[in-house]
Every structure is written in structure tokens, then in C-alpha cells.
């Protein structure tokens, strides 16, 4: 696979002394949709900002389409479009003017035909003469995308494209990203919604506390992470789990009021029917039940613990 973005040993310490990125190494393949998944404050925006030239790296380097983003910034940046996390536009400009501005800024000669197609594709053509402040939030977001695509980049960064966006718009966004990929654009998006990574990405990188914890094919990752929990609120507290339930992945909480059953959503056989049958046979009654997907936070905790165990093991072997 051809790597279109290549991040090596990237570290960022902000002037306040906070280290937001710790020795990040990452390769993005040409033509893929890559999701950078991580909770707030993980360092996603910092990473994107360095690649796009908005933030200076403390050490390490980044190449975009073979060009160093600091030394050959012109060549590198021509290839990149960025839709930042915050909606920020000049309220008084017209839609058309601001998109033309972006294209010029990136060094491209005017191409009214292309701009028209772009605006039509994003359903903004009718609004081309409106002032930006007259647009709805969803339109503004699409306008930011139009600006980012105005210079026909090969690589598009979308920083939390669906944060605070309603369901319908989210669907639109997703289908638009797929169309872009089909036209050959490499898309890197950040998100803290696991479903979004699931829905969109070919590969997923998980980042937490400035470290890239893992990079994996989406399907592999989902297998690793796709746990769901079934919570059962018992009618009568139990002292311990009966023998007949011991072979299931079932836990009783300390109060004895609640049982947690863990199952894999990906596998065809969740074992829930079996569980309910066994509960019935053991005459355990419950008042309520609910399912819960393992949250991103849980997954991080899991991943970080896993890493620690591996480290411990490595140390143990060394001694």
C-alpha cells in the first residue's frame, strides 16, 4: 500500500509545558478512509494541526504525498484540505466569494465550472449569493467542506465532522465522505463516536493521552472491541451466583442486586436466550433489563490495561 501521509516520531509539547503528542508514528494509505478515534483531549486536533501546518511540531516529522510538511510546505499543503473542528467563517462574505477565496489562497487559478459543481454537490449552489451568516449550521458545515475541497486536494482532513450534528446530516456527511473516497481522495476524520469509526472507516487509529494506542483494520478492531453488556436488575438480591450459571460470562455486583452479562455483538450466537432460560430454571426473577455497549472509555481502559500487562510481562521476561 502506498502511504500518503507518514508521521514519524512526532512529539508536541505546548508552550505551557503540556505534552499533547508523544512519539506518534502513523502511516495513512492512499485512498482509504482513516478514523482517528479518541476521547476529548486525546490529541487528535493537535495531530491534524501539525500535519496541516497550523501548529509547529516539537520534534519528529511528517510527510504528505512525499513532501515534508515543514521544509516543502508548499508542495505538501497544496495536496491537503482541512475542515476544522470549530465552525469559523467570515460572516459577511458571500458563499461563492469565500469558496473562491479559498481556492486562490491555495494557489489555484479560478475554475468557475469546478466551483459550481462543488457547490451543487454540497447543495449550496442556490445559496451562493447569500451571506454566510444567513446560513444554517448544517449549511455552514457544508460550506467549510466546500472551502476545504476548493483546491481539489488529494487528502482531506475532517476534524469531528459530525460533532453536534443531527442524525440526518450525519448520514449526509457519511455518504459524502464515501463519494469522496470513490473519487480517489484520502479522508482522515477524527471522532469520539465509536459507531462513526465503525460506519465509515477502512482503518482506525485509537489515540489516548497523546499516544497512538493502536492502528488496526476496522473489522479486526470491532472484533476486539465489540462487547455489549446486558444488565439485569434482580427482584431479590442474591448472595452468590448459583452453580447452574457458573459457566456463563456473568457477574454479580457487590450488592447482589444486579447481574452483568457480557456478550459479543459480532457473533451470531449471543447466548442471551440460553441465559434467560437458565435464569428461569434457577428461579431468579428480575425487574428490569437493559443493554449497554462498551463505551469508548471502557475500551481505552481495556487497551491501556492490556498494554500494561504486556509491559509487565516484557519486564518479567527481561529480569
Amino acid at each position: 500500500m502506498n502511504s500518503i501521509i507518514s508521521v514519524s516520531d512526532l512529539t508536541k509539547t505546548y508552550s505551557g509545558g503540556f505534552t499533547a503528542l508523544k512519539n506518534v508514528n502513523l502511516d495513512i494509505h492512499e485512498g482509504e478512509i482513516f478514523a482517528l478515534l479518541g476521547p476529548n483531549g486525546a490529541g487528535k486536533t493537535t495531530l491534524i494541526s501539525i500535519i496541516c501546518g497550523i501548529v509547529n511540531p516539537s520534534s519528529g516529522s511528517v510527510r504528505a504525498d512525499g513532501h515534508d510538511v515543514v521544509r516543502d510546505y508548499r508542495m505538501a499543503r497544496e495536496k491537503i484540505g482541512l475542515v476544522p473542528q470549530e465552525l469559523c467563517t467570515d460572516s459577511f462574505e458571500s458563499v461563492l466569494a469565500t469558496v473562491k477565496f479559498s481556492r486562490g489562497l491555495f494557489g489555484k487559478a479560478p475554475d468557475p465550472g469546478y466551483i459550481e459543481r462543488l457547490l451543487r454537490q454540497l447543495s449550496l449552489w442556490e445559496k451562493r449569493n447569500s451571506r454566510i451568516m444567513a446560513l444554517s449550521g448544517g449549511m455552514k458545515r457544508r460550506l467549510m467542506i466546500a472551502k476545504a475541497l476548493s483546491h481539489e486536494p488529494k487528502i482531506l482532513f475532517l476534524d469531528e465532522p459530525t460533532a453536534g450534528v443531527d442524525v440526518e446530516l450525519r448520514q449526509d456527511m457519511w455518504s459524502m465522505v464515501r463519494e469522496l473516497r470513490e473519487s480517489g481522495v484520502t479522508v482522515i476524520l477524527t471522532t469520539h463516536y465509536i459507531e462513526e469509526a465503525e460506519e465509515m472507516a477502512d482503518r482506525v487509529g485509537v489515540i489516548n493521552h497523546g499516544r497512538l494506542v493502536l492502528v488496526e483494520d476496522k473489522n479486526t478492531l470491532i472484533k476486539r472491541m465489540g462487547n455489549k453488556e446486558l444488565l439485569l436488575h434482580l427482584a431479590e438480591p442474591l448472595e452468590r451466583l448459583p452453580e447452574s450459571l457458573a459457566d456463563l460470562s456473568l457477574e454479580l455486583d457487590e450488592s447482589g442486586q444486579q447481574m452483568v452479562y457480557r456478550f459479543d455483538i459480532q457473533s451470531g450466537e449471543t447466548g442471551i436466550a440460553n441465559l434467560l432460560r437458565k435464569l428461569d430454571r434457577a428461579e431468579i426473577e428480575f425487574r428490569d433489563l437493559q443493554t449497554r455497549e462498551s463505551s469508548l472509555e471502557d475500551i481505552f481502559v481495556g487497551l491501556v490495561r492490556g498494554e500494561q500487562k504486556e509491559n509487565d510481562r516484557a519486564h518479567g521476561a527481561g529480569e
Partner: protein, 255 residues
């Protein structure tokens, strides 16, 4: 090394569009306030004043008044031009574009300077309605106009980068530049001052600008024209160095 001409043009056009959008504030209001000066100092009070070195008082104050507007407009245009994207966050786009520091400055400073040059000429034209004047050295007059506009637009650009709130944006133009301009001989010849203050006044950089500019009109000057010209180039050099340093270090634009 190829220049990103489209990028420079984009910034320039964007900034000029902002000017036309705010025509009242950016052109009409300085022209109006300068006209008031002409009426009050030129026509009303000026008629009671004697000539200064053979020039009527109304005509004498024209170069100074143009400089006054030129300085304050150059600074406020350029500083606002770069401060606002920083403030609103839209600067991300300029920073992520394949455009060099030189090209960014050329766009912003070029537009701010263009605007204040146009304004200066407009005030000059307006002055015709109130007083009679001549321009002995039109070429030099334009030269001083352009150089001053460029230099102070650069100075404004630096202020716009330095300022992190609206108050800082206004404090230097208001607290430093305006007093220096008023005391820089816009309304009097420094020969009219007591000897001690004549010396002190030479530390005011605006004196050189106004004196040189006035020389291009009437051939009279408080200080030698060559010195005036040298001083303008010195400020220009200082501002260029400041901007160069800002972009080299990323000061207040990149973290």
C-alpha cells in the same frame, strides 16, 4: 522560487472587499473628519493666522492632516485585517495554505496600504473645496505617500499580531500614534516652538514624515528632506525586521 500569486490576490481582494463593505466607516468618516479640520483650522481660524514661510495656514496644514489620516488608517486597517481572522479563528485557513510569510504580508499590507493611499488622495481632493494649494514635487509627494502607507501598514500588521484583545488593538494607535502626530508639526512649524522643545521634538519620528511630505508640496521643511527620506526607510526596515521575526518564530500565530 515561484510565488503564489493567486494566494496574494485572494487575500488582497478579500481585504479590499471588506473596505467596500464598510465604506462609510473606512472612507467616508475619515474624509468627513478631515474636512471638519479644514473648515475649522483652515477657513475659520486660518483666516486670522499669518502665513507660515509664505504659505497660507489653511494650505500649510494639508500635508499634516493627510499624514494624520494616513498613519491612523494604515495602522487600523492592517492591524484589524490580521487581528480579526486570529480572533474569529478563520486564520487557520491562511496558516494551512501553501503561502509564504512574504505572500501573506504582501496581501494584507498591500491592501491596507492601497486603501490608505486612496484615502490620502481623496482627502487631498476634498481639500480643494476649502483651500487653495499647490504641489511643487508631485512625484515626491506620491513617493512619500506610498512609503508612509506601506511602512505604517506593516506597523499595523505587527500590532494586529501582537494584540490578543480589542483593547490592545487600539491602545497604540490611540495612545502613541495620535499624540505623536498632533505634536509632529501637523498644525505648526517646529520653528515656532521654544528652542528646547524644538530639540525634543526631533525625537518624534512623525516630525520627519510630515516635514518631508510638506516639502513635496511647498518646498519648505523643518528638517532636511534627505533626513526625512532616510527616516522613512529606517522605519520601513524596522517593521520588515519585526515581521520577519514574527514569522520566523511563529510569535502569536502558531503554537
Amino acid at each position: 522560487m515561484k510565488l503564489n500569486w493567486h494566494g496574494i490576490r485572494a487575500i488582497y481582494k478579500f481585504e479590499m472587499a471588506r473596505t467596500w463593505r464598510t465604506l462609510m466607516q473606512s472612507i467616508a468618516s475619515p474624509v468627513l473628519s478631515t474636512s471638519l479640520y479644514f473648515i475649522v483650522f483652515g477657513a475659520a481660524i486660518g483666516s486670522r493666522m499669518g502665513d507660515i514661510e509664505g504659505v497660507s495656514y489653511g494650505a500649510f496644514i494639508i500635508p499634516g492632516l493627510i499624514m494624520l489620516s494616513l498613519l491612523s488608517e494604515s495602522i487600523s486597517n492592517a492591524s484589524f485585517g490580521i487581528f480579526f481572522p486570529k480572533f474569529s479563528g478563520t486564520i487557520y485557513e491562511v496558516l494551512s495554505a501553501p503561502i509564504s510569510a512574504f505572500e501573506i504580508v504582501a496581501g494584507y499590507v498591500g491592501a491596507a496600504a492601497t486603501k490608505s493611499i486612496l484615502l490620502g488622495l481623496l482627502i487631498l481632493l476634498t481639500a480643494r473645496f476649502f483651500v487653495d494649494y499647490q504641489i511643487l514635487h508631485p512625484f515626491w509627494m506620491l513617493g512619500f505617500l506610498v512609503l508612509t502607507a506601506l511602512t505604517f501598514s506593516m506597523f499595523g500588521f505587527i500590532i494586529g499580531i501582537w494584540a490578543d484583545d480589542f483593547q490592545k488593538l487600539q491602545v497604540i494607535p490611540l495612545m502613541v500614534v495620535t499624540p505623536l502626530t498632533f505634536l509632529g508639526g501637523a498644525f505648526y512649524s517646529i520653528n515656532m516652538l521654544p528652542e528646547f522643545w524644538q530639540k525634543v521634538t526631533l525625537f518624534n519620528p512623525v516630525v520627519y514624515l510630515i516635514s518631508g511630505f510638506r516639502w513635496s508640496f511647498y518646498g519648505i521643511a523643518d528638517v532636511n528632506v534627505a533626513v526625512s527620506l532616510a527616516m522613512i526607510f529606517l522605519f520601513l526596515l524596522l517593521c520588515m525586521t519585526g515581521i520577519w521575526w514574527i514569522f520566523r518564530t511563529g510569535y502569536r500565530i502558531k503554537t
